[in-house]
């Protein structure tokens, strides 16, 4: 195992962070505005979000770089800013982490499907290589390939991330099939975990897509087939619109109450995705300590 992972896991399950987009919105990010742009335009507000997670007890925080691969950036006309946005994003999280937390910088999907030929494997690999290198230069301690729907894309991102020598987490979205235990492309947790480990991921898991209850069997199934640590960041249920703003049904305490089961199922990095906040992370921390 990568020495940093050994160090982190020495004292039991590791608390990660929660959602960033909604926290940025609370600080003025407009509907449809590209969050990663704030690494340059409003770094102090991005720093506040990262600091809020550190204060809530996150031992690993991510970064505001989810959409900063050049393929996705191109949709915003920002592809020439890829290196800058990633470096700044990693550096902001690093500053917030101080000596207390580690920064596992975020790498989200390109938004294009390899299987429909909208993008080539070479383009995807090049985009993720550029992003991973910039994140490493910005001071990231690890990299998180997250919210992936297509195994091939996730594996290319893992390969790119590994070239930095940093530990690499890879997680996918399981939101399809009648039991919500498949990726959009139909992969099972077992198949996804095996493929991601094969590609070189040091940690595998699931994020987004559904509430925390569904993550328990997914973690159990991944844990049964691979030897690497398991990462889990669930949503706070499905959103409901209240006065034009998305609000999630699951409370921080409901969310945290499922954490012991999730850890028992094999998850060793736990946090939240859409709908979660520093309050959720604080509640999970209490649960982990309890």
């Amino acid at each position: 195992m990568h020495p940093l992972l050994t160090e982190l896991l020495a004292s039991g399950p590791v608390l990660t962070d929660g959602a960033w987009g909604t926290q940025l919105q609370a600080r003025g990010l407009a509907v449809g505005e590209f969050p990663d742009q704030w690494n340059v335009d409003h770094p102090e507000r991005v720093l506040e979000v990262a600091q809020a997670y550190v204060a809530a007890g996150s031992r690993v925080i991510l970064s505001n770089t989810f959409g900063s691969n050049r393929i996705r950036l191109a949709a915003h006309g920002l592809e020439s800013r890829a290196v800058e946005l990633n470096r700044r994003g990693a550096a902001i999280s690093k500053q917030a982490a101080g000596g207390v937390a580690k920064v596992f910088a975020s790498m989200g999907p390109t938004g294009l499907l390899l299987m429909s030929g909208d993008v080539t494997p070479e383009q995807v690999l090049a985009a993720f290589t550029e992003q991973a290198n910039a994140l490493a230069e910005g001071g990231a301690d690890g990299l998180v390939v997250e919210t992936m729907a297509e195994i091939e894309e996730a594996c290319l991102a893992v390969k790119a991330a590994r070239l930095t020598g940093l530990p690499v987490v890879a997680c996918m979205v399981f939101d399809s099939g009648k039991d919500k235990d498949r990726t959009m492309m139909g992969a099972t947790p077992e198949a996804a975990a095996a493929a991601l480990v094969e590609a070189g991921a040091d940690v595998v898991g699931a994020n987004c897509g559904q509430g925390i209850a569904g993550f328990i069997p997914i973690c159990r199934r991944m844990h049964a087939v691979v030897k690497v640590p398991i990462w889990a960041k669930a949503n706070a249920g499905l959103p409901e619109m209240v006065d034009g703003v998305a609000s999630y049904r699951t409370s921080s305490d409901d969310f945290a109450s499922q954490i012991p089961e999730l850890v028992k199922a094999g998850a060793s990095f736990v946090g939240g995705c859409c709908g979660t906040s520093p309050a959720f992370i604080a509640a999970v921390r209490k649960q982990l300590l309890g």
Binding site: Q25, V31, G111, L112, M115, S176, G177, G186, E240
Partner: protein, 211 residues
């Protein structure tokens, strides 16, 4: 001479090459183009949908079946248009303003085409005015909107309001979908329908034009 029944198999298995070859041969043999659509292709896409619901098929299989369907439709549609046959319905589809995600929208568009609809794909980040324009200029009778983000969902409501203001709301059925969308949300904003997935969207669109 290939049996047109094989067209059904070609679409179900996603074999675009055979789908095209069988269609061309059948048309050369004088088979009615509409019969090819109604007797073989639509039932094939229904079977694809059934397999999707049964977790036997996932998005990759849907994509390749839709591609096989499309290969056949590309030679059939001009014949239908030339003799004045109308499509099942005309759909203006797009990802709402502020949202750039289009994987789900593209899949729905392909399956709707496979289901016999004429699809006008407006792309991503589509402002309400664009939908209104297409309703007026191309007589779309379905507006299909997609949003992946909770932050862009409200643009669906805004679009419906804009359709009302422009006096075209009654000319169309409004269908919505996307990861954060629920039936409850559809009801709340006054949409005519919601589907959880792309297969359901085709059935929904068919019900909408029949209503």
């Amino acid at each position: 001479m290939p049996d047109p029944k094989l067209l059904y198999d070609a679409v179900v298995s996603g074999d675009a090459k055979s789908s095209l070859a069988i269609t061309q041969q059948a048309l050369a043999d004088g088979v009615d183009p509409l019969q090819l659509v109604n007797d073989y292709m639509v039932p094939a896409m229904d079977e694809v949908g059934r397999r999707f619901e049964a977790n036997e098929y996932f998005v990759p299989e849907l994509l390749i079946s839709a591609r096989a369907m499309k290969a056949a439709l590309e030679v059939i549609r001009p014949l239908l248009v030339a003799r004045g046959d109308k499509p099942v319905g005309r759909v203006a589809i797009g990802t709402v303003k502020g949202d750039l995600h289009d994987i789900g929208k593209n899949l729905v568009a392909s399956l709707l085409e496979g289901g016999g609809f004429e699809v006008i794909d407006l792309g991503v980040n589509v402002p309400p005015e664009k939908f209104i324009e297409v309703i007026n200029t191309r007589q779309a009778n379905i507006v299909a909107m997609s949003a992946l983000l909770t932050t862009t969902m409200p643009a669906m409501r805004t679009t419906i309001e804009a359709l009302k203001k422009a006096g075209v709301r009654d000319k169309v059925k409004v269908l919505i979908g996307g990861a954060p969308i629920t039936q409850k949300y559809a009801d709340e904003i006054g949409a005519d329908g919601y589907s959880e997935n792309a297969v359901g969207a085709v059935a929904l669109a068919k019900r909408a034009v029949a209503a």
